[in-house]
Symmetry: C2
Subunit: 147 residues, 2 copies
């Protein structure tokens, strides 16, 4: 079996998608992440949900857990407003690293090694750069476990 | 709203659970991770799915993607057999780090900051050390987004 046999359709966003809209997709569909497309429609990277949280939470709360504790409950409840009008572009880490993107002919073992190295439970699968779909950790493990 | 108001029941494993059984729970229920309990029944940490993959994949495939490519398809399909009889104990990273465990009175902002810092889409919520349940990134974002 190859990656292309395991892909499913997966919601995509672009660099200009509002981060709040990306969060809504993640929350409503219970997704492990979103596929981010470049302007040319080719996958650029995977956006994990925790990265969207990182943009929503004030920097001082990330640096010091005790400071998050002093924010009153009403404001704490509405922390997702912290995303404001910012976009997916601003949620992406600046440092380049190995991307959770695989070719359609990747084997299940290659997908597993890629997820393990990138700590990403979602891989975008491409054919000559064009998106075929996504493979989740759930689908990958389910396929490889003895039935 | 506090963490205890947002928890849901969540499957747990112990250090002695077979890693293959943990993988089956992850795959069959589509979970972002599992709550690992100590022998005294108190939460020890969260086990992310990618960490189980890390144990299933041979070390040389993690170190060098090109080596994963030369494994034939039949063996690549069955990569989860690499877990063998190993247990959850062997999947956990050795280095101590901040744990995705929160008190029941943590606010949504505190949960968000904790998920962002630990890169974990699942937090175990405790009351005086005893497990109340889990909060997923999905539940957290869904609660804080404007309806």
């Amino acid at each position: 079996m190859r990656a292309r046999d395991l892909v499913s359709d997966f919601p995509t966003v672009t660099l200009d998608t509002r981060a709040a809209d990306a969060a809504r997709l993640l929350a409503e569909h219970g997704l492990p992440g979103l596929i981010v497309l470049n302007d040319d429609g080719r996958p650029r990277t995977i956006l994990p949900g925790t990265q969207v949280l990182r943009l929503a939470v004030p920097r001082y709360c990330l640096d010091d857990p005790a400071l998050a504790r002093v924010v009153d409950e009403e404001h704490a409840d509405a922390f997702m407003r912290g995303l404001g009008e910012r976009t997916v572009r601003e949620t992406l880490p600046e440092q380049p690293r190995e991307l959770p993107i695989a070719d359609g002919d990747a084997t299940l073992l290659e997908l597993a090694a890629l997820m393990a190295r990138t700590h990403s439970p979602l891989v975008a699968v491409v054919d000559d750069g064009a998106l075929l779909g996504g493979v989740t950790l759930q689908a990958l493990m389910g396929q490889s476990l003895p039935h």
